[in-house]
């Protein structure tokens, strides 16, 4: 009797478990498929973008040989015949990004170290959300602020003819990439195990020594990711540099000159370009160069990260 009951309950249990597994399998398979197709979609979209960039951009090199395109310093897309040389845009992008990085990286990491290591909880809990709100400012608002508030300051501070310059744009971009750098590096620093710090203090290290020699090196991969995100934002940002950088076509030999970074060259020309026309192709070719640049930045960052990690494994 007792034996029978046991078998009955066990078959019931098996049956419910079976149905549960089947149900779970269906749900799981559905979700798995969903996630898989999403992953696939991202790759398809990426390949599609690369394909379009190549298809629209490569023909530009039939009209302007690559040598003249990359090293040419004259950009007259609406003249007859048009000339396309992108050297000024390329160098402008480098200047603007350099200025932005030089300002935002030390300040950003310093701010993150303060928030993660020094600041009392109350301060961190108020400051971090505020910093993150900064990231949400539309770039056109930042451009407007740069044009009306910052450019007169830069003009008087550096005694320039015009306040609209690569320097002004770089400072604005630094403000825009700061929140990302602060937020991501702060997360990375907070992820460093408390034992590391305790061990460091136990060895008699000061707080500064602990931050500089223990916390920051341990969080370096996260901080590097933060810096890359910041640099990426600076290279790709369009509206702000279009409004603030000045838009001159000369090859800038100093960041205090007005200049046209690649993004604003594309933005200020694409509306005017007829689909499939020479200018349209040239602008796509600039887009292609921009894409290759960001790809290179990411690859280099990957390399650096990998080497850094290996160093710490030892």
């Amino acid at each position: 009797m007792a034996k029978e009951q046991v078998t009955i309950t066990s078959t019931v249990a098996v049956a419910t478990r079976e149905s549960l597994r089947r149900r779970r399998r269906f749900g799981e398979r559905f979700i798995e498929g969903w996630i898989f197709s999403n992953g696939l979609l991202a790759i398809i979209v990426l390949l599609g973008i690369i394909f379009v960039l190549l298809r629209e951009g490569i023909p530009a090199f039939f009209y302007t040989p690559p040598w003249e395109f990359f090293f040419g310093t004259k950009w007259y897309p609406v003249s007859e015949p048009p000339t396309f040389g992108v050297a000024p845009f390329f160098i402008s992008t480098l200047w603007v990004t350099l200025v932005s990085t030089v300002i935002s990286v030390p300040v950003g990491i310093g701010c993150a170290a303060y928030l993660a290591e020094v600041a009392p909880d109350k301060v961190r809990e108020t400051v971090k959300p505020v910093v993150e709100i900064l990231a949400g400012f539309p770039s056109v608002v930042m451009g407007f602020i740069g044009m009306t508030l910052l450019s007169p300051l830069v003009q008087t501070a550096f005694n320039l003819n015009v306040g609209l310059s690569g320097l002004t744009a770089g400072i604005m971009l630094a403000f825009m990439s700061l929140p990302i750098i602060v937020s991501v590096s702060e997360d990375a620093l907070r992820a460093v195990p408390e034992e590391f710090r305790q061990a460091s203090y136990a060895l008699g290290a000061t707080r500064w020594e602990t931050i500089a020699h223990v916390s920051i090196p341990s969080a370096l991969s996260g901080i590097a990711a933060a810096v890359m995100l910041g640099v990426g934002r600076a290279i790709g940002e369009t509206m702000t540099v279009l409004m603030v950088a000045g838009g001159a076509l000369a090859v800038p030999y100093s960041p205090t000159q007005p200049m046209t970074p690649m993004t604003s060259a594309i933005a200020s020309g694409i509306g005017n370009a007829v689909r499939g026309g020479l200018q349209y192709q040239a602008l796509f070719a600039i887009g292609l160069v921009l894409f290759v640049m960001t790809l290179a930045v990411n690859l280099i960052a990957d390399r650096v990260l990998e080497r850094q990690k290996r160093k710490f494994e030892r």
Binding site: A248, G271, V274, R275
Partner: protein, 309 residues
């Protein structure tokens, strides 16, 4: 735990589906309702017109569009001003009904349009004069076309070379999206219509190309060494208008509606609409309104030059 999760999922998915279905139904119901009511309450013109192109024509088109939509509530007109070149590109690509332009379409653009089966049809809607403006504290009062050309090609780089202070000239221009850019290049930089005409001349590489006319006027009002060329409608008291002399011995004329109408001002130009083929339907009705006496009165209000007669 897993069972709970599963149940949650099975509830969330139908919920999302239902929500989307309701939303979609709402949308279609909305459009279904909107159409008949629009036609029933307003006898007459209905439809939408897209106008895009010149930044300069935008204030005028906007005022016309507002007045026309007030008179015909069934019509919806959208106006945007990325630049004449952009407008012509949009016309060629078939993405706009009317292209507003501050320069004449180029022969290469007509070829591109024909290749896409678009037949640009030109309608002159008003005139405009490009004022040359400087900061009010600048002592320079007049310039010749040749001097302007030299300034914009960076051959003259200091104000003292044209009778001003010993200070570098900050040369401001519109970017290549703008019809103003091309018009000023042909008529001032390359000195079209003068014996010194030279179509090889280009803007110098120290010229600042700005994305909007308002931005140029603001910068000129702020920067004591700046020079810029806004359309007449953008001139305000924060900047000083220079008198322009065709040649060194001709009289200096300041940009104004009168000077443009009587032909004494050198840097004036037509403002144009382009449509694909001769306009029909509501587009024709709108353009007829623009060209009517009432429409031309608005031209003067905005600060442009009405068509004579």
């Amino acid at each position: 735990m897993l069972r709970k999760l599963n149940k949650k999922w099975f509830m969330i998915i139908p919920a999302i589906l239902i929500a989307t279905a309701v939303l979609l139904a709402g949308c279609t119901a909305g459009t279904d309702n909107a159409r008949p009511s629009a036609t029933s309450t307003v006898p007459g013109l209905t439809g939408a017109i897209d106008i895009t192109g010149s930044n300069t024509v935008t204030p005028l088109s906007t005022i016309w569009a507002e007045a026309f939509m007030k008179a015909n509530p069934g019509v919806n007109i959208s106006v945007s001003g990325p630049g004449s070149g952009a407008g012509i590109a949009a016309l060629i690509n078939g993405t706009t009904d009317i292209c507003q332009s501050s320069r004449v379409i180029k022969s290469t653009e007509i070829d591109q349009a024909k290749a896409k089966g678009v037949n640009p049809y030109e309608i002159k809607i008003a005139g405009d004069a490009l004022a040359v403006v400087v900061n009010p504290s600048n002592p320079v009062n007049e310039l010749t076309i040749a001097q302007l050309s030299a300034i914009y090609t960076n051959q003259i780089t200091n104000w003292k070379e044209v009778g001003g202070n010993d200070a570098p000239i900050v040369v401001l221009s519109r970017d290549t999206n703008s019809g103003t850019h091309v018009f000023f290049k042909e008529h001032v930089v390359q000195m079209d219509g003068l014996p010194t005409k030279n179509t090889k001349l280009e803007y110098g590489n120290k010229v600042l190309f700005l994305p909007s006319t308002e931005g140029g006027v603001t910068e000129t009002a702020r920067n004591v060494n700046a020079i810029f060329y806004p359309g007449l409608a953008y001139v305000n008291p924060t900047v000083k208008v220079l008198a322009i002399k065709k040649t060194a011995d001709s009289p200096g004329v300041k940009a104004s509606v009168e000077a443009s109408l009587n032909g004494t001002y050198a840097v004036s130009r037509p403002l144009l609409f382009y449509t694909n083929g001769a306009p029909t339907g509501i587009i024709k009705a709108f353009i007829d309104y623009c060209l009517s006496a009432e429409g031309q009165k608005k031209v003067t209000e905005v600060g442009y030059v009405p068509l004579s007669k």
